[in-house]
Symmetry: C2
Subunit: 262 residues, 2 copies
């Protein structure tokens, strides 16, 4: 069964997009047919893959975005475009998506619109990933309802630790009302800085809470990861020898093994 | 006229809370009667000041939170509590606030609920600050509608740069429909790392766009700033000699001068 993963954490700036883009790239590079869906109006995953977010969108004369698919019933196939990575396709986002929260609020079965969109795509792709915005609104809820499991990036910082219990509560609610089989596939520690005592303390605390669901791969703070998006490339194409790239390559191998075990 | 500032940027993890807590602390230390209102359900500003977010809230037997004030008409005065910094009061938040988005959606004049709450408090405080969540939903819109001006933290990273145009668009909309006198008081560059070329490129780009509204004080990446919240203290009390503390002390002086010039 081809897994669908939602990358989620309502705390801002913890590495959701960086994980989505780089994980998707390494999965595709290893031969896995991968789709990355950008559910964030900020469209960082879209631009992190070198796609011009001002050139997409039905209202701007481009191919449809995830907004057009969710809100205006555009064909999902028409919204899927190739990226700079062979084997990696994307369903891009743009600022139109900022309106989706209000526009979808009154719809019948508003939480499962994305699930119905993704269903027919499962046969075409080996793995589907969602990047989500830093909130627990309708877009993230759609991601959680459509996914088989979540991947949770947690930044090695104090404030990021505080938000984890809120996230677990939300996942429980989704499981009870919308998606009973939603699992926690992986917790990924990000922006680890070995020189900072707090980093290790956060890792230890998360390992105590989540046990072996925490990936043994800890993503280090690595400047190449933050430079790559300014070149519109995942780190696999920007600087594959960097420590950041190596961490995401290992993570992709782990996610592949998880998928096969399902 | 006692200014009210909203600290805003929908991009996640750019230093909104760190700026709100540490600016508020240094303003209070310099003798300014300061109120910090936490409009984020994550309640990071609340815990960054050492307030136990599980001990507040009318439904939990504690003093009311901003949620109780906005949604259940609790008295604002009852929700204002002292902090570990003399002269700094706070209106704390907790997870209840996550429900406000939906609960306020159908209210008449939902965008200006906070403005009506804050109006009578202006006489009691020299400066009022709002910390906001990483989204442009009802809570942030309430902050923008109730403020005289915004303070915009921008992280010295590529993705953070992308979100600025969306934020400016939203501020324009608020000005046109809800708060015609809303100004941009200050843009603050955060997490600057002198070893990273990208940092300086982002600073240059933001200065080109915002000119002298960009504070000359650039907040460096400084581990003491990320450690302080784990001790429930602003950096002014945790490590006042650190570079992070010095930057926020200077920023407070600048904000004071701005306030006097109004
Ligand atoms: N391991 C890392 N090392 C260095 N920089 C990183 C790392 N991971 C992410 N970054 C940078 O940190 C910032 C935040 O990461 P990112 O935007 O991926 O987080 P996010 O959770 O998607 O944010 P948001 O909540 O706004 O969606 C970005 O500028 C990114 O380039
Ligand atoms: N100048 C700095 N140097 C080092 N760490 C910092 C600095 N500013 C903020 N941090 C840390 O970076 C993380 C993100 O900052 P913060 O939580 O203040 O951002 P935010 O914009 O409020 O995030 P959110 O969007 O989730 O509300 C926190 O862990 C914080 O401690
Ligand atoms: Mg993101
Ligand atoms: Mg914050």
């Amino acid at each position: 069964m081809n897994p669908v993963y939602c990358i989620v954490n309502q705390k801002g700036g913890v590495g959701k997009t960086t994980t989505a883009v780089n994980l998707a790239a390494y999965l595709a590079i290893s031969g896995v047919a991968t789709l990355l869906v950008d559910l964030d109006p900020q469209a960082n995953a879209t631009s992190g893959l070198g796609i011009d977010k001002n050139a997409v969108g039905a209202e701007h004369g481009g191919s449809p975005t995830i907004y057009d698919v969710l809100v205006n019933d555009a064909q999902p196939d028409d919204a899927i475009i190739p990226t700079c990575v062979p084997g990696l396709m994307a369903m891009p986002s743009n600022l139109d998506l900022a309106g989706a929260e209000v526009e979808l609020m009154a719809r019948v079965a508003r939480e499962t619109i994305l699930r119905r969109v993704i269903e027919p795509l499962r046969a075409r792709f080996d793995i589907i990933l969602f990047d989500t915005p830093p909130s627990l609104g309708i877009l993230t809820v759609n991601g959680l309802a459509a996914a088989d499991a979540v991947i949770v990036p947690i930044q090695c910082e104090y404030y990021a630790l505080e938000g984890v219990s809120q996230l677990m509560r939300t996942i429980d609610i989704i499981r009870r009302h919308v998606n009973p089989s939603l699992e926690i596939a992986l917790v990924v520690m990000t922006m680890f800085d070995a020189r900072v005592r707090l980093s290790q303390q956060v890792v230890d605390e998360v390992r105590r809470a989540f046990g072996d669901r925490v990936s043994p791969t800890v993503v280090p703070r690595n400047v190449r990861l933050s430079e790559a998006p300014s070149h519109g490339r995942p780190v696999a194409l920007y600087d594959p020898a960097s420590r950041g790239a190596q961490a995401y390559r290992k993570l992709a191998e782990e996610v592949l093994k998880l998928g096969q075990a399902r």
